[in-house]
């Protein structure tokens, strides 16, 4: 599926303008994963890392709206409301997934 052509720049110009910036971000991500591997501790249980792994698959699936779909993947899918925040004000950036990551 191809995306509507709403960007006013040509593809060549998009690459010329943004390639270096996103090359650097990609290497940052790779270095982060390397750092995680080199660190002591359990490497199987963190829901944020599981979500990040799922998100990287979206990058390569060739479908449009990758940013939207990754944001949805990181989002709380539930509809229940807890009574209170129990002293928690912050957010973690991902939601604990169940059933093998689905």
């Amino acid at each position: 599926m191809s995306a509507p052509k709403t960007c006013p720049m040509s593809k060549d110009r998009v690459v010329d303008t943004y390639f270096m910036e996103h090359r650097a971000k990609l290497i940052d991500l790779a270095a982060f994963l390397d750092r995680f591997d080199r660190a002591d501790g359990d490497d199987s249980g963190d829901f944020r890392m599981a979500a990040l792994e799922q998100a990287t698959r979206v990058l390569l699936d060739g479908q449009p709206h990758r940013a939207k779909r990754i944001l949805e993947l990181f989002s709380d899918p539930t509809t229940e409301l807890p009574q209170d925040a129990q002293g928690t004000k912050g957010a973690s950036g991902a939601y604990p997934l169940t059933d093998g990551g689905e």
Binding site: P4, T6, C7, P8, M9, T17, Y18, H65, A67, K68, R69, L71, E72, F74, S75, D76, P77, T78, T79, L81, P82, Q83, D84, A85, T88, K89, G90, A91, S92, G93, A94, Y95
Partner: protein, 267 residues
């Protein structure tokens, strides 16, 4: 060039920031009431905060030719205690007649709790009673999608609130379409790491249009950039967006929405 930053927390910024914003073309800002990074111990703390927003900050901004307007509420992070929140809300009507108050905000949700929703509904009722504009804070990160929908449902449950008088802020790619489709205004916040970058804001304008949408910095006490609105203008310009479109999202649209309050008389 001229621009409006319609969401920035100047109480947390230095006077140098006012100077740099003026030099970059800022002519007006609006400052919603928000969380100070810690919970205030009594409603009196909010009384002093509201005085700072309505009396002191407009003077500090005026030194640099910037008009300063504000919004009042108890923010969602301190709104998880309905009893405390109602005490704070009881002092808000005393400030609504101040000449720089535009409405109720930034109200909304933080962790999407029942307590927060009770306080949100009280704020919506307060806005309805006093015919005020509403500025909405949507939750952070994993809580945003769910919270944005709950907030819109709560506002729509009050049939007398016109969604055209409500701006839903901090939209991203997964919430912007639904906000606009339901008739609300949308705000894109240019904030490092947790919200939009100038590049993504330009992407969103390209994908969803430039109607009923604005950009803001939400600069505050965290790592944030009070010059992010002019940086987004530069990003749009380098892509080839028209001068009229850039002016629309960074000046005309804020002026149109905010101008629904007669006190916002920026030309």
């Amino acid at each position: 060039m001229r621009y409006i930053d319609p969401h920035i927390h100047m109480v947390s910024r230095t006077t140098d920031d006012y100077q740099r914003m003026a030099q970059a073309g800022c002519v007006a800002i609006t400052e919603p009431a928000f969380w100070a990074g810690f919970d205030r111990s009594s409603p009196k703390g909010f009384f002093d905060y509201f005085r700072q927003l309505t009396e002191y900050e407009p003077q500090r901004a005026a030194m640099f030719g910037i008009r300063h307007f504000t919004w009042l509420c108890i923010n969602p992070k301190e709104g998880d205690d309905p009893g405390f929140a109602r005490e704070v809300m009881s002092i808000i009507p005393d400030f609504l007649d101040k000449q720089t108050v535009l409405g109720i905000g930034e109200i909304g949700l933080n962790k999407n709790t029942k307590n927060e929703l009770i306080v949100l509904e009280d704020h919506i009722g307060l806005a309805e009673k006093h015919n005020q504009l509403i500025l909405v804070h949507t939750p952070h990160l994993e809580d945003k999608l769910k919270g944005t929908r709950i907030i819109m449902d709560a506002i729509e449950a009050n049939a007398s609130i016109d969604p055209g008088r409500v701006l839903i802020d901090h939209v991203e790619e997964h919430t912007v379409k639904e906000v606009l489709d339901r008739g609300f205004w949308a705000g894109m916040t240019l904030y490092p790491d947790t919200k939009c970058t100038p590049q993504r804001a330009a992407d969103i304008v390209e994908m969803y249009g430039n109607e009923r949408i604005w950009i803001n910095s939400a600069g505050d006490w965290g790592i944030s950039d009070p010059l992010s609105v002019p940086k987004a203008r530069i990003e749009m310009k380098r892509r080839g967006h028209s001068a009229a479109s850039i002016e629309k999202v960074s000046f005309e649209n804020p002026r149109t929405f905010l101008g629904q309050c007669p006190r916002f008389d920026v030309e």
